[in-house]
């Protein structure tokens, strides 16, 4: 029987070799290939690539655990991070594909005939992407250190080299096809333990059905869980603790933010036709939904198993996985009252068990007593999730620098030179992201969740209005973006960094937490954008014609065959 470590090295090594092989095969030769993979990606492949791009280390490792401890409140992530694709498919993707350029700032700059608007958009895109990518590199480092027993720093460096290879060489073309492979790896790694655990617990191999299954004759898993948590002093699993207003606002901010994230939007520039953009949004959501409907089941199974195998059990008889993961401090047992038995309770003074949220996925193969290769598979899956998202973000950063900044202000540079600048920018971004991965500034973890609020409050309204109204002008767009961004950033900074002690419902405006404030920022952006446009001159006739033009599918730019 092979050791866990051997399996992990083998599976992670094999998947890395696969990614590098794909990168060499799909090198980018032109800027169009580097930015949008030549625009010739099939809708199905783009759907998979989008799903891998979208599902980050946090989705893979942490989300199930987050839901396990939040219960019904965790629904904001499930609805928020999937519902945004409906907005994307219906309101943005087809029109941006018809517009036919390479980046979100491209659209904002052209539609609002203003380089000021373009630069504001570039700043938003860079800020959102940097915050997000630092978290991914950190995720790579953590997975390496937990599974391969190398220091976090080395893990980050190895991750940097791999990403460097295919993002810098292959550009969007390389990234797209590695992301397709990464999706397959990550979804397989997520589903195998989930299916086995579902079978063990409820007898149903489909986690989405096992979620509603019975754990004892006549008692459903969720009812049982509600009862158990209630006995220990926690809120019932299926009940909410957040206010309805806050639930509403957070879900809205996550949905709209998803639709406004530049690394997601840019994926829809890579397909040949407008109808492919619509279809590939559908495929993307199918691939995402497979994981996102499994995650809440994994969450409920995980918390049920964790409580069942520890609560009121003698410390000497705890299962081996508890002992293994105690070494990494992801589970901590402290026998406060000295009775030799674990008490898991809501009251922090008498509670003797601390469980980290990441354990629900990371330890799932051991909890289900699955063979060692499954552990290696989960490690490879987590790595695939982190690397694919990091690569997508790095591409946005490098494109913003080479195209939206350099090419805009130095239009005479040759394509060859532009491509070189894009590669240098990608390399620079990898190194910077790696640096932040090794030395994470304290604010990164805090801020990642807010990238959505910022995307919601800055991009979404001006892109939407730019398509659905011909009257919105550059003054409206610039003021709208700035007001949305400054308001949201200000609110978050105040409650998270200046006065964190006031970060309670009592002090929040209209009862909206910093996580949900992007929704208010978005509404402000809309209002300012419309009002300012009304009192300033209409856009030139050529722009109004352009808007009419992007509403009609026929005539989208030709793609380069692969």
């Amino acid at each position: 029987m092979m050791e866990i470590l051997t399996w992990t090295y083998l599976l992670v090594g094999l998947t890395f070799a696969l990614y590098i092989g794909i990168a060499i095969w799909s090198r980018a030769g032109s800027t169009k290939e580097f930015y949008v993979a030549g625009g010739g990606v099939s809708p199905l492949a783009n759907g998979m690539a989008t799903a891998a791009d979208w599902m980050s280390a946090a989705s893979f490792i942490s989300m199930a655990g987050l839901i396990a401890f939040a219960g019904y409140d965790g629904s904001v992530y499930l609805m928020g991070w999937t519902g945004g694709y409906v907005l994307l498919a219906l309101l943005l993707a087809p029109y941006l594909r018809k517009f036919g350029k390479f980046t979100v700032p491209d659209f904002v700059g052209d539609r609002y005939y203003s380089n000021t608007a373009r630069v504001v958009a570039v700043i938003c895109a860079l800020f959102i992407s940097f915050v997000y990518v630092a978290g991914q590199m950190r995720g790579v480092g953590i997975v390496f250190s937990r599974y391969l027993e190398v220091p976090i720093e080395w893990g980050v460096v190895i991750g940097m080299i791999i990403v460097f290879f295919y993002a810098v060489l292959g550009g969007m073309k390389g990234i797209t096809y590695t992301q397709v492979a990464q999706y397959c790896v990550l979804i397989f790694a997520y589903m195998v333990p989930a299916i086995f655990i579902s079978m063990q617990l409820t007898g149903n191999p489909i986690p989405q059905l096992g979620f509603g299954g019975e754990v004892e004759a006549g008692v459903s898993l969720l009812d049982k869980l509600d009862g158990v948590l209630d006995d220990l002093g926690f809120a019932a699993y299926t009940d909410g603790r957040k206010s309805m207003t806050d639930m509403f606002m957070i879900t809205l901010a996550l949905m709209v933010g998803t639709a406004g994230l530049p690394h997601v939007i840019v994926r829809f520039f890579t397909v040949p036709r407008v109808k492919d953009a619509r279809l590939s949004a559908g495929y993307a959501l199918v691939f995402i939904a497979i994981l996102y409907t499994t995650a809440p089941a994994v969450a409920a199974f995980g918390i049920y198993n964790a409580i069942n195998s520890t609560s009121e059990k003698p410390i000497s008889e705890l299962p081996t996985w508890v002992q293994t993961w105690q070494k990494t401090n992801l589970i901590q047992v402290e026998d406060k009252n000295g009775d030799g038995v674990v008490q898991y309770l809501a009251d922090p003074n008498t509670n003797e068990l601390q469980i980290d949220k990441d354990i629900m996925v990371l330890a799932s193969p051991e909890i289900a007593e699955l063979p060692n290769w499954v552990v290696g598979l989960v490690a490879a899956g987590a790595m695939a999730a982190a690397l694919s998202t990091a690569a997508g973000l790095l591409l946005v950063i490098s494109t913003s620098v080479s195209r939206d900044l350099f090419k805009t202000f130095r239009p005479e540079i040759s394509e060859k030179k532009e491509l070189r600048i894009a590669r240098i920018a990608a390399a620079g971004a990898v190194i910077l992201a790696g640096y932040f991965g090794v030395n994470p500034p304290g604010f990164v973890a805090q801020v990642v969740a807010f990238a959505f609020g910022l995307a919601a409050a800055s991009f979404f309204p001006v892109i939407l209005l730019g398509i659905f109204s011909t009257r919105i002008n550059k003054e409206g767009a610039i003021f709208g973006m700035l007001v949305g961004l400054v308001f949201t950033l200000g609110y978050i900074t105040y409650f998270k960094f200046i006065s964190p002690e006031q970060n309670t419902a009592e002090y929040w405006w209209f009862g909206v937490s910093p996580e949900g404030i992007g929704s208010i920022g978005m509404i402000l952006n809309f209002i300012v954008c419309v009002l300012v446009s009304r009192f300033t001159p209409a856009p030139p006739a050529s722009i109004q014609e352009m808007v009419e033009e992007i509403r009609i599918p026929r005539g989208a730019g030709k793609a380069i065959d692969h």
Partner: protein, 88 residues
């Protein structure tokens, strides 16, 4: 039925907007409606081992989202062909 191109484009856009409104109403209903605003009322109705409101919040809304996008793809492709603005 001969239509002048300008008028045809207008009608196409109007039909497009109508499709969007219908689909987005359903989008709002299953997530914000069933999953958040009326979750407590729906939770009194059982669905297998789930409470209905909770099921919509953590499962049902996502399934409906997927269906909505494919319904949109189908309707828009039909609309594009009808108004002769589809791609080759």
């Amino acid at each position: 039925m001969p239509l002048d191109p300008k008028h045809k484009t207008k009608v196409y856009w109007k039909k497009n907007l109508q499709t969007l409104v219908v689909l987005l109403l359903i989008w709002f209903l299953v997530s914000f409606g069933f999953g958040i605003l009326w979750v407590e009322e729906l939770n009194t109705i059982p669905l297998g081992g789930f409470k209905l409101g909770f099921w919509f919040a953590q499962q049902g809304s996502i399934y409906v989202f997927v269906l909505l996008i494919f319904a949109y793809v189908y309707w828009m492709n039909r609309l594009d062909r009808k108004f002769d603005v589809d791609e080759e």
